[in-house]
Symmetry: C2
Subunit: 206 residues, 2 copies
């Protein structure tokens, strides 16, 4: 692509660094911003810069926060004795969007994956264990992706927590709503048969 303005070219190149944004899309975005008022674009860039420079990570659960403790951990209406273990912030947002969970979180920052060089020490596992020992945690819910790495992480943490007496669960695996049996993989289908539910409880949950 040939630009007659270095300012334009630099802006396009910056946008094109973002994931999933190619040069053509970047140009479209930059030309859109060029049509906006100077103050609007200044606001856009300030919001982005502030987000990066001022955002904090909750000292208790490692979720994103505007203060030292995130709004979920500091909310007395939520059940502080229940911890949901997730891989990253995106999972927190996904679960929060269901509006079905009223406990707290613990963001691991990834899952154990020796092939990628990620061991337990790179994750927020030690802090989880000490948090459980300090607080009166009643239940730990694993909401990790159903991969080998996710299962390894569950196994590792569960081993570490054996001295503690608390309920440890994982979110249900099964056929997704709207999914079709014939297209489900064998593993999922087999697991959903093993973990079958009594119809009464299924109907009650509806």
């Amino acid at each position: 692509m040939q630009f007659s303005s270095a300012l334009l070219e630099n802006a396009v190149n910056e946008f094109a660094k973002l994931p999933g944004i190619g040069k053509k899309t970047a140009l479209r975005l930059v030309l859109h911003l060029l049509k906006q008022n100077t103050s609007e674009v200044a606001h856009f860039s300030q919001v982005i810069e502030r987000m990066r420079s001022e955002i904090k990570f909750c000292q208790r659960c490692f979720n994103v926060a505007d203060a030292d403790i995130c709004s979920i951990c500091s909310n007395s209406m939520r059940k502080q004795e229940i911890i949901c273990v997730v891989e990253n912030i995106r999972d927190v947002i996904a679960i929060e969007s269901t509006q079905q969970y009223n406990g707290t979180y613990h963001v691991l920052g990834g899952v154990i994956s020796p092939l990628d060089g990620i061991g337990p020490d790179q994750l927020n596992i030690e802090s989880l264990v000490s948090r459980i020992q300090k607080e009166k945690t009643e239940e730990l819910i694993f909401a990790l992706n159903p991969t080998i790495q996710g299962d390894t992480t569950i196994y590792y943490i569960q081993k570490k927590l054996q001295p503690c007496s608390l309920r440890i669960t994982t979110i249900a695996r099964g056929i997704a709503f709207g999914g079709e049996l014939e297209y489900a993989d064998e593993m999922t289908l087999a697991r959903s048969l093993q973990n079958r539910l009594p119809v009464e409880s299924y109907v009650a949950n509806k």
Copy 2:
């Protein structure tokens, strides 16, 4: 979507204002920026802000420019007697990327479209006419999209330029390379039959 950080939420909302970017994509972009260094994100936002606040429009051809006159107009290696009339900056970039054109441009800023309330006065047409009268323009090439609005604009400008003696052309319409005859619309096919080329000139251009 539920966010536990207002900083994060504001950044996502700003990105989601961009065309073709929904909330989920915006979140992906923001979480990507969150992983970058503070200085990198500061650079990103400064480049965007500078682009909007410092970019100029060439006083001669209305292309984007870093100075009062754009790099194409101030380039003495380019044929200043040839003007290519385009709708917007994106078209300039598209034509420049072919590396086949060595003249100058005139960016109209749109095409005449009464339904959208765009008349000749909203476009850079007056400046084009006075530019042609002042400069020794030899040829005017219309590179507008083949729509009714584009054709109306060509007709209007051509009428205005009747007193001037210069060659007025338009880019060729026809079957695109890689296009298939049977899927071409009738208008395009009919026009490409009318404007057929002698095979010698076609082969010579190859």
